[in-house]
Amino acid sequence: MKDRIPAVVFALALAGAALMPPSVAAAEPQSSPRMEKAKNYIAEEQWSRAIDVLRAASADPKERSRDEALFWLAHSLHQARDLSGAVEIIAQLERNFPASRWVKPARSLRVELAQKLRRDDVLWWTATSPLPPPPPPTPAPVAVPAPPAPGPRPPVLPHAVTPPAPPPPPTPPVPPRASRPRDVPPIPPPPPPSAWVSEFSGSDRDLRIQALGSLMRTDAPRVIPMLREIALESGSPREASRAVFVLAQSGRPDAHSTVLEVAKRGAELVSVAAVRELGRFGGPKVSDDLLQVYGTGNPRVKYQVVSSLGERAATGALLQIVQTESDRGLCDTAIVTLGQAGGRAQLQRLYARGRAEWKRPIITGLFNARAEDELIQIADREIDDEIRREVLARLRLLGTPKAKAYLQKVQVSR
């Protein structure tokens, strides 16, 4: 009986494999040894070797991951500074495997290539193309009977490899202005630049944001309203947050005011993202802006404002919140953050006012600020034994020479 167990297990395994739904089996494409080798070269940044292997893989009809091979080939060509070669391969991937999941990252790579080659027309095409319909339920790669064999590259690209910033196209397509009135029919997207995109090409909102980020340098007045629209109207908070990031990091005053508007008017998560980016990228006066947002925001937004003010070490604004906020949780958080922001003097003053509910967060704030002198003073003066014990515990945790000496002194005097 014992000898039969392995055979039974094997039979069960076979049966299980046979019963496995085709979609599951198909979802496990094992990389060929050749692809693994190519990826090892990619990991080691040996681009020319990777390119050789990937060219062979992408041209081999027996290769199970030709679409993936094409993507990594484009990636490797890009890394090897063969930008025009990379553009060609992306077009080939879109043409031969239009439903492949590798098409999306390839399109993102194309946006990057267009940015490097200053092809603003391609970027505008990406930014204004109609969005695709919802994805089909089974996005398996479409097999094409016979992919084109590798050969001489078609002379479709006007650019040499690594050109020194080619001139802008003579008549760049005019993008639609986001500020147009709503009753005006939308301006159709500009015709796609044929050397870069084909009828198989497409865009989506992430690619749009990426393209708009590149166009911010040259066309900010047109780009900002489009990003604003994504930030305020996209159904996806993550997409909206990315649009907010692109706006904020541009450093432009008009983009800054748009981020401020999103912080006040956006959906909760987007508003939180806008506050975070204001804190990171705002100028010296951004604390006032953040306090404005605090005045209108819901609790989650307010917590983010407190956090952002803390990151900026805006002790004055934090103190203002502590003094005016009626919500206990927010007030406590602002006090603790004040400590992290280095507001030792403010915390000491607050403690002196003697409001019982402030004491514990102030002690925490001072501890986070490693304010041994202030904690020792509190320990000396505090008459509430429980709070005093807490301060002593914090001093013990700090463990600085001064704290240790004080603790020793207290122990001796007891």
């Binding site: 990826k39 990991a43 990426q210 980020g213 993550r238 450093g251 992290q340």
Partner: protein, 242 residues
Amino acid sequence: MTSPCTIQQRGSVELFFYDELDPAARDEMVAHLRVCGDCAGALEDLNVIRKVLAGRPDVSAPPAGDWSGFTRRLDAAILRPSTSYTGLLATAALLAIVALGVYVASRGAGSFTVQPANIASDGGRTSVATTGMKAVGAQHLERSKLVVLGLASKEAGGTPTEDWAYERELATSLLKDTRLYRLAAEERGLTSLAGVMRDLELVLLETSMAEGTNQRALGQIQRIIEKRGLIEKMDAVPTVGM
């Protein structure tokens, strides 16, 4: 089942470990440790944590050009056949590193007390944006460690049922942000940050595209992490420079 030693319950082992007992109490504790298995075990566990934490590379002085090998040390620390709570404690210590890193990065400074943001005194937008980008980058790298450390510590040759769905899901959501941040870092000339983001993007792309419980794909991703020295770079860039 016996209840743990009351001395241990009072936290005296921790105080002893951190050298916070007065001399008399310390001597008593030394004597107690000789006879109490509970307390001796607890002390040993604390030593394991300290060892794991101390075993981290000195990221402020990375060996020139050699970023490889961290994964091997990570494996040695985590995947070594463990006895008692050692493995769990090592993992806990690593999680603590990540959590602390996220916290510190979220504060935007290298200590618990935030230094005032480097706001351009000339009112120039560039340096404000660059400072902001550094903060974004540091926080994003810390967040991404959840994926990268998770992948690096899995056993590629282990049981095929071990799923890494969490890492794949997180990788998918982090990938687009990573790309956007890399492009912004490149634009600002933050070359080190952009370089790490590029490596991270590669790992996240491979991870998000991997299917099911594909152990070979996991091995491939781990090789990329190791060959690019990604974990050490992610540690080093926010501290050494962007």
